[in-house]
């Protein structure tokens, strides 16, 4: 793990003076490798390591911690701060708040919509989930089954336009006293102009309270591009990091945060509908550091 690599690199420094530039440079090499291995984007790594360098050089070597442990603490504290201090909740104010769930193909949106609906129902709300993926084979059927498992109603419009379906769903929710309206959307790549354009229109016409980007925790260097483009196009309000029950280090979390400044609100920890948890920056920092 990083601590032992840093111990080796900074051996023989305990209780002696200050961390020199040379000491910190060799430590920074190990930190860079650890973060790249964890899938943090290489540009984010570069900026992060420079920040660590500034904090570590000239630091007095303590008696109580080994220099390796000391540097790891600097790194860990910095990671926790960047990943976002306090837990950010969902903003569901207003009469019939709309939550748009967006992201790349296969990231876990439909499953997350079900998990979110189940969670909100337990919180005493009466969510309505909306099926707007008219493209993927049996996508509506999948949401229908997921909604059934979550015990919430599902709205399936008759229009062939996703935006029209959401508008109809919102009126239906308003008249039935259902809230919030959680919209499952078709997976799309951020470079598909037509589909990204559709999302822009959906946002304009439905004024959502939340636009959640669902991102697979195993996403690599491309996470910055995905996050930047979705944020630029529709303005995301938060991120749901899925499949965190695997062993991907999840560096995409840091990349997304660095590039958009938006909070990671929830994490998916399994395929079942009860596997949705609040995001813990300290646990994520430990995971990224390996």
């Amino acid at each position: 793990a990083l601590t032992s690599k840093l111990q080796a690199v900074l051996r023989g420094l305990r209780g002696k003076g200050r961390l020199s530039e040379a000491d910190v440079s060799s430590a920074c090499r190990e930190i860079r490798l650890a973060l790249l291995e964890a899938d943090v984007n290489f540009k984010v790594v570069r900026e992060f390591v420079n920040r660590i360098r500034e904090q570590a050089v000239g630091k007095e070597v303590m008696e109580s911690l080994s220099p390796g442990q000391q540097v790891v603490k600097i790194v860990r504290d910095e990671l926790v701060e960047l990943l976002g201090g306090a837990a950010a909740g969902l903003e569901l104010e207003g009469a019939t708040p709309v939550v748009l769930v967006v992201g790349l193909q296969g990231g876990g949106k439909t499953t997350t919509v079900g998990k979110l609906a189940r969670l909100l129902k337990r919180d005493g709300k009466r969510p309505l989930v909306v099926a707007t993926d008219l493209q993927r084979a049996a996508a509506v059927e999948q949401l229908r089954q997921v909604a059934g498992q979550a015990g919430v109603p599902v709205f399936e419009g008759s229009a062939d336009d996703p935006v029209a379906i959401v508008q109809a769903a919102v009126s239906h929710a308003a008249s039935e006293g259902l809230s919030p309206v959680i919209v499952d959307t078709a997976g799309r790549t951020h470079v598909d102009e037509e589909l990204m354009g559709e999302l822009v229109v959906m946002k304009q016409k439905t004024a959502p309270a939340e636009v959640l980007l669902v991102l697979d925790a195993m996403t690599g260097q491309d996470a910055v591009n995905v996050a930047r483009e979705f944020d630029r196009a529709v303005g995301i309000t938060g991120v749901v990091l899925t499949k965190l029950d695997g062993d991907a280090r999840g560096g995409a979390a840091l990349s997304v945060r660095a590039v958009t400044g938006k909070p990671i609100k929830l994490v998916g920890m399994g395929e079942k509908l009860d596997a949705l948890e609040v995001f813990h920056p300290d646990r994520m920092a430990s995971r990224i550091l390996g």
Binding site: Q105, Q142, Q145, T219, N225, D245, D247
Partner: protein, 279 residues
């Protein structure tokens, strides 16, 4: 003194970043670039374009080393393809694309709904089977996936199908019971077929980072893979993890997915892939 067309230090750093940005591991990228620096030091390559060309050739060579064609002529019908991988990578869609390809070759295709777990997984494959006009075998949702694959082989023989393509549920390689379930599917298929499946393909998402290597290693160890399919290369992710997979696990990369339609499947071309990675 170096001119603009020369192999400078900046060039080697830039190329290392290009590789890392494409999800080639930092370790493998450093090793590859070190070989390029050595070639430049020894005068074997002198210009910036020469270095880029050498890099492309090196990558293409690494990816061709374990090259193997898709199994096509079984000793006895049906040809059996098993498709495996972690959640959401594109297995079911890839199966539809493979089915379409076999049909274009005039073969009779049977799709087996081996994902008996996920909501609407059977329905999803059934829609594809209907679109293709292919044969389809499924049991109840929640049923035993090995039994589905077992039945699909018998059905293929009875119906005169040339090829069976079996879908399986997405599963994280860290879930021991799910990997054991997959092992059982593979063993049951082998016993009924009378030989190992002709292809056991791991579907990897091009947007996946270093975890793809763990996926390849552990699925290979659990069930013995014959090849890798990289999907979603129509996005901006470069899929560089396949270089690490080829290098460290020795698996052939056989196919790429470049979209959501049934035509969006291509043979893996090492030279084209290398050229896309290092323009």
């Amino acid at each position: 003194l170096t001119g603009p067309g020369e192999a400078t230090d900046e060039l080697f750093e830039e190329l290392e970043e290009v590789l890392i940005a494409s999800d080639v591991s930092a370790r493998v990228a450093a090793a590859i670039v070190e070989r390029l620096r050595a070639a430049a030091r020894e005068g074997r390559v002198r210009t910036a374009e020469g270095v880029r060309e050498t890099l492309r050739n090196q990558l293409a060579e690494m990816l061709s080393r374990h090259k193997a064609p898709l199994a096509a002529s079984p000793p006895a019908p049906p040809l059996l393809y098993l498709v495996v991988g972690v959640n959401g990578t594109g297995k079911t869609t890839t199966i539809a694309k493979l089915g379409a390809r076999f049909q274009r070759e005039g073969r009779k295709v049977l799709l087996a709904a081996g994902d008996t777990f996920r909501a609407a997984a059977i329905e999803q494959l059934q829609v594809w089977a209907q679109r293709l006009g292919a044969e389809f075998v499924a049991h109840q949702s929640g049923g035993d996936p090995a039994a589905v694959v077992f039945d699909s082989i018998g059905a293929a023989r009875a119906r005169g199908c040339d090829v069976v393509i079996a879908d399986t549920a997405g599963r994280l390689h860290t879930k021991r019971n799910l990997m054991e379930e997959l092992g059982k599917i593979v063993r049951v298929a082998q016993r009924e077929l009378g030989r190992p499946a002709d292809e056991t393909l791991l579907v990897v998402d091009a947007t996946t980072g270093q975890n793809a290597l763990a996926q390849a290693r552990q699925f290979h160890e659990a069930v013995g893979l014959t090849g890798v399919v990289v999907t979603k290369l129509d996005g901006t992710a470069k899929g560089g993890t396949v270089i690490t997979i080829a290098e460290e696990v020795g698996l052939p990369i056989k196919l790429i997915g470049v979209g959501e339609g049934m035509e969006d499947l291509e043979d893996f071309d090492p030279a084209a892939f290398a050229a896309a990675l290092v323009p």
